[in-house]
């Protein structure tokens, strides 16, 4: 005669219950997500310049060479990014600022600043090395190309655009300039 101990019955029955619970738990996620708003970006059909792509702030994408508050380039061509770069993809030629041709805030600026994205591994060492916070990682990522030479980005492609200056009332005539500003106490 078969004899089932209480323990055995309990174990067998419990396994069925556990299976049902497991399925229910799994399905609960499915059902919950079914009604939750979608997290998949609508890339590349989304709106805006990012075409729907959304990034964490920390994402390391295409580099951006920043400008200071005066619109001058922050890069002073110190070569520290090139020195820090493990894949040796940064090429710089330095030149000296002159009174007539002022590019950066310091004495020197980068006349040529190339990043070879064939080689760049987006490690961010260059950003860490930069003493003037000139080079940063942007969120650009659409780098695919049919021609490898297109992947050598020049300074012009990397530079941040010049921000429009603070809007001021347009000066209409020179006589206005001579009058003292009356709004200021």
């Amino acid at each position: 005669m078969l004899h089932f101990s209480k323990q055995t019955i309990y174990t067998e029955h419990m396994s069925i219950i556990r299976d049902i619970a497991g399925i229910a738990k799994g399905m609960s996620v499915t059902f919950r997500e079914m009604f939750a708003p979608t997290v998949v970006e609508n890339y590349p059909d989304g709106p805006g310049p990012m075409k729907g792509a959304v990034f964490q702030e920390r994402f390391r994408g295409l580099h951006v060479l920043q400008r200071d508050e005066n619109g001058l380039e922050k890069c002073v061509a110190c070569f520290l990014c090139a020195a820090a770069c493990p894949s040796n993809c940064i090429y710089i030629e330095a030149a000296e600022n002159t009174e007539e041709n002022r590019i950066s805030g310091a004495e020197r600026y980068a006349e040529v600043y190339n990043i070879d994205y064939n080689r760049c591994i987006f490690c961010g060492y260059c950003v860490e090395a930069c003493p003037t916070d000139a080079i940063t990682h942007g969120h650009g990522f659409e780098l695919a190309t049919f021609n490898a030479s297109n992947l050598v980005y020049r300074k012009e492609q990397l530079l941040a655009p010049i921000k429009p200056m603070r809007t001021e009332a347009p000066v209409e005539s020179t006589s206005q300039l001579k009058e003292p500003a009356q709004d200021h106490p």
Binding site: V76, A77, C78, F79, L80, A82, A83, I92, A94, A95, E96, A106, E107, R108, P131, T132
Partner: protein, 789 residues
């Protein structure tokens, strides 16, 4: 001089010995204990201003500066303790108070002593909250910029300029925290523009106009090579950076101080490399077509030259061809050129622009031992006699060594000159003699008292002449240095006097390798090693048949060209039309080939012009005016030019010559046609035997200068130096002149000194932007005044 006795001191528990009188900082350095310092610099006067070298010496109440303390027996020193480290850290903190933190922009960033010390001793976090002193950067000259806030006032520049260069163009203005280094002209410098102040600056306060903001130290490749200007052979370290056309030279300096020049470089060594990428530099072969020099391919030019030269040689014989060599091509190229002339062209018509009488010098010292001094000897000799020349202008390193020797070792300097040259300020006796009477002084030295009559003047009395002679007669192993004022028999007379006092000699010639050109036999009457062309020699065996008669010198060639007896002239790196003021019309009927960097007056007359590589773009060896041979390393690269060596080999090849005979390369080369009995078998290659004996491998390329160096070392007596030492970047002394077999002089001597100043350098100097931009250059051409005097 008795050696000072060695005494023992204890530093950080280690016991070390050094001669009495050694400075503590030097004693520590000798055993590898680093005591930091900014203001201490070996060879310059002591300052004790930076207080970085403070150490604890037992029984002294305060910390002591290791740079001023001479060691005493039993001294116990602590150079590394918390107290000492804190003292150093606080000095750095104080310095950084007013020092701008613009390291990312500063030229010195990466090779800055202040940066290094900050890393080493901390002070990373600043306690400084006050406003920093700021002053705008100043330009003192085309080559010197001064960024005042960066200056840490170590006074190295002031001392290097004053004590070292004897120019005294820098000083200190104001006091306290307003102290500032200032140039002699208030807002600009008028000096020798040597750039010593820049190199010696531990921070980025003094920066070089040529190098400023161009690159960073770690971005450059550094090549230690030889300066290509005067005959002193200073080692210069070139900073190289890649560029569109190859490798660009961005700066020349003296980083490792390992060369014969030690700390020294003049304006030429530091800046005058800049002719290499001058816009007028020849970058294509030129062939005259319809009377115009037009761009051609290498193929066309080589073919044309090879064909024409072969034609002329075969129809008119070798004596219808003349060859003029260069003072600034390498030993290998010079040797190859004369070998090419003698074996391929079949002529002894080979000469070069002689700036001094090296041949006469070789004749005078033949067979004497240790008769030539090295450049290093000048810095240690106990007494020096200088006859003629103005080393400050024409041999700046020699002048530096003389000055240092007088200053540091109290050497006695005697000067005989027709002009009041600047070195007279260091002289124990300065005898200004009428121009052209230098030889009379030599006669006087040899005991001809009647010669004194033509030497005396209000400034030079009979007694002072005798006094100098007496001192020289009693001198201990003096060095006698003479310029082109003495020639032929005068040199022989001088050597006769010098032999009596065991003197060593230096014969001063201009340009980077004029001594090499002479040693390598760019003479119509002398083979390599000053062997008489018409005397007994073994070059027939080595090279095959060579012409036995003396050739024509430059003047002879020009006359022959005028008389239409010279059908072709092959010129390498020389400008005889200007140097010898020849009538260009003389060459109108000759087939002239020129290998040059620039379109010189001679090149303008050529039928074919080959663009040659400069000395920065090729390898080889240079022999300086003293006979110190050094390795020239390839640094820069200009696409589309070729070395003189390669051009000669290629032309020879086009003429149908066997290049293996010309340049002994490849395995089993029979450089001497194997006529001699070998070591073991019947016929042996003497060159191969020599190579094996010297542990050298056969060269693989006909364009490898080392292949010719092998042959030079084998065939030119006095060139048996240590190859290993040379390749390690050191200098070796060669004594071809002492081993010469030149026979009697033949009166062919025509010496044309270059008379260059510090700011000119023959053809190359004309194309140096820096040399032409300094104001002293303009002044020196306007009036030949003695500088900074």
């Amino acid at each position: 001089m008795a050696e000072p006795k060695s005494i023992t001191i204890t530093v950080d528990g280690k016991s070390l010995s050094a001669p009495a009188g050694t400075l503590l900082i030097e004693a520590c350095k000798a055993v590898g204990i680093e005591v930091p310092s900014f203001c201490y610099y070996p060879g310059l006067s002591l300052q004790a201003a930076c207080r970085m070298c403070l150490v604890r010496i037992e029984k002294m109440p305060k910390l002591q500066t290791a740079c001023t303390v001479q060691i005493t027996d039993g001294m116990v020193v602590t150079s590394d303790s918390d107290e000492v480290r804190q003292a150093r850290k606080s000095m750095i903190e104080l310095l950084l108070g007013n020092h701008p933190l613009d390291c990312p922009v500063c030229d010195a960033g990466g090779e800055c002593e202040l940066q290094d010390m900050t890393f080493k001793y901390g002070a990373a976090e600043s306690r400084y909250m006050e406003g920093k002193l700021h002053k705008e950067e100043q330009q003192w000259s085309p080559v010197v910029y001064f960024d005042r806030p960066r200056c840490i006032l170590c006074y190295r520049c002031v001392r290097a300029c004053g004590e070292g260069m004897d120019v005294w163009a820098l000083g200190v203005q104001n006091r306290g925290s307003s102290s500032v280094i200032a140039p002699n002209q208030g807002d600009h410098l008028e000096c020798e523009e040597c750039g010593m102040c820049i190199d010696i600056c531990p921070v980025g306060a003094l920066t070089s106009g040529a190098y400023r903001y161009k690159t960073r130290p770690w971005e450059m490749k550094h090549v230690g090579t030889i300066c290509t200007h005067c005959g002193d052979g200073c080692k210069t370290t070139l900073g190289m950076r890649r560029s569109d056309t190859g490798m660009d030279i961005v700066r020349g300096d003296n980083r490792d101080k390992s060369g014969i020049n030690g700390d020294f470089l003049c304006i030429k060594g530091r800046y005058a490399f800049d002719y290499f990428d001058h816009k007028d530099r020849l970058r294509h072969p030129l062939i005259r077509r319809n009377g115009q020099l037009t761009q051609a391919t290498w193929e066309e030019a080589l073919e044309h030259v090879g064909k024409r030269l072969k034609e002329i040689r075969d129809t008119q014989g070798g004596q219808a061809i003349g060859v003029i060599g260069s003072n600034r091509t390498t030993n290998e190229e010079n040797y190859l050129l004369q070998k090419f002339a003698r074996t391929v062209l079949g002529t002894n018509n080979i000469d070069h622009h002689r700036t001094t009488d090296f041949a006469g010098f070789a004749r005078a010292i033949t067979g004497k031992q240790n008769a030539t001094a090295t450049m290093r000897d000048v810095a240690t000799a106990s007494s020096i006699l200088l006859i003629g020349n103005d080393p400050t202008e024409q041999h700046p390193l020699l002048a530096w060594n003389i000055r240092s020797n007088v200053r540091l070792n109290r050497a006695k300097l005697f000067i005989v000159n027709s002009r009041p040259i600047k070195l007279r300020r260091q002289a124990a006796a300065f005898l200004q003699v009428p121009e052209g009477r230098e030889s009379k002084f030599v006669a006087f030295l040899n005991g001809d008292d009647t010669a004194a009559g033509s030497l005396t003047s209000p400034a030079v009395s009979n007694d002072s002449l005798k006094q100098v002679r007496d001192q020289l007669r009693g001198a201990q192993d003096p060095i006698i240095i003479f310029g082109s004022e003495l020639r032929g028999a005068d040199i022989a007379a001088l050597v006769k006097f010098g032999s009596g006092v065991r003197a060593m000699f230096i014969c001063l010639g201009d340009y980077a390798n004029s001594r090499g050109a002479a040693d390598m036999g760019l003479y119509p009457d002398l083979f390599p090693g000053y062997v008489a062309a018409d005397g007994p020699h073994n070059f027939n065996e080595e090279w095959g048949k060579v012409p036995q008669v003396k050739g024509m010198d430059i003047a002879g060639m020009m006359q022959a060209a005028k008389d239409r007896k010279l059908a072709a002239l092959y010129v390498v790196g020389s400008n005889p039309v200007t140097d010898y003021s020849f009538d260009p019309a003389a060459l109108q009927n000759a087939f002239v080939v020129v290998q040059e960097l620039f379109l010189t007056e001679t090149a303008l007359l050529a039928e074919v012009v080959f663009p040659a590589a400069s000395a920065y773009e090729k390898a080889g060896t240079f022999t300086n005016t003293c006979g110190d041979i050094q390795l020239l390393k390839k640094a820069g690269e200009i696409s589309s030019v070729r070395s003189d060596f390669e051009i000669i080999v290629r032309v020879a090849d086009r003429m149908g010559a066997d290049t293996k005979k010309l340049v002994p390369f490849g395995k089993g080369v029979h450089a001497d046609m194997g006529q001699s009995r070998g070591a073991q078998s019947g016929e042996a290659d003497r060159h191969a035997v020599w190579l094996t004996a010297n542990n050298l491998d056969p060269r693989l390329s006909p364009f490898d200068p080392m292949a010719i160096l092998d042959e030079i070392q084998r065939l030119v007596p006095g060139y048996e130096f240590s190859r290993l030492n040379l390749i390690a970047g050191n200098d070796e002394h060669v004594t071809a002149a002492e081993h010469s077999n030149a026979g009697a002089g033949n009166g062919l001597v025509q010496i044309v000194p270059a008379n260059d100043s510090l700011f000119t350098s023959g053809t190359l100097g004309r194309y140096s932007h820096t040399l032409n931009s300094v104001i002293e250059n303009r002044r020196s051409t306007e009036s030949k005044e003695v500088m900074a005097d």
